[in-house]
Subunit: 166 residues, 2 copies
């Protein structure tokens, strides 16, 4: 059950593909990060062009890694209204590309992500990042926060689906 985790953003989009089975084959732990990146769009480009690049990148990654599930963070309104609207539009494009490719969509709220990664619904950013690094067992020295967020979201989907299967 391969999962595409996305930390939705307009300027920076965290993307990660996790495959639990792959690591099990190797006799290791549950989660394997097959791919991760922080996809950036330049502020010099027009808005519609940036949306286009985001959709095309997600399309490309789905085609290449063939995940079955999209795990994506739910959005909440913060102080910057304009930013959150742009992020929502990018989020719509990501879900659209995933849905067009037949992926199931799992929406993870921030408290769900906190509980799934740290066991504590009010964990702070540092605590989440620390646990993600342990859970994903990867060399995270070169991994951006956006990628780690995307991995955390994919781990959350994995935890929920595992519970559902039991």
């Amino acid at each position: 059950m391969r999962i595409l985790g996305i930390d939705p953003g307009f300027e920076r989009l965290g993307i990660a593909v996790l495959d639990p089975a792959l690591r099990k084959e190797r006799g290791e732990k549950d989660h394997c990060v097959v791919f991760s990146e922080c996809f950036k769009t330049s502020s010099k480009l027009g808005f519609s062009e940036r949306l286009n690049l985001i959709g095309k990148e997600v399309h490309k990654i789905i085609k290449e890694y063939k995940p079955e599930i999209l795990a994506i963070e739910t959005l909440f309104l913060n102080t910057n209204q304009k930013t959150v609207m742009r992020v929502a539009e990018a989020r719509g494009v990501v879900i659209y590309e995933a849905s067009s490719a037949g992926l199931k969509v799992f929406e993870a709220s921030p408290p769900q992500i906190k509980i799934a990664t740290t066991g504590y619904g009010r964990a702070n950013k540092e605590q989440i990042m620390k646990m993600v690094k342990i859970l994903a067992e990867m060399d995270t020295s070169k991994t951006s926060d956006d990628e780690l967020d995307a991995i955390a979201i994919a781990l959350t989907a994995f935890a929920h689906l595992k519970v559902l299967k039991k």
Copy 2:
């Protein structure tokens, strides 16, 4: 210069295609509504499926009517946060489909729409609708508000582009 006007929505999407040239050929006035509809998605469907239907519908209409410009209303936050986020996601999908098909995107703010249709930036809904019916010169008895909104948005883009050309 064929314009696709979209009144962004998640449950109801107003869509209109206007072609100024077409009517000029007939020796009539400026604007001709080639197509209009209110595209609805059922609340019984899942969120990602509804986004998918919206994108596919816009894709189909672009392919059939070949507009060169997408005119779409800008969004502002209202009281219902959840609704506005879903509408923003749908809006992202519409812009993505248009941008992928090579259309230029024109974003029209509510005051721009009011000025372009009525000449008055604080016009109310009824005043806009009345003017749209006159400007579009169509049989509007069967036309929904969402379609009229989409026509108003397309008319706004047309007014702006006409000014730019002068």
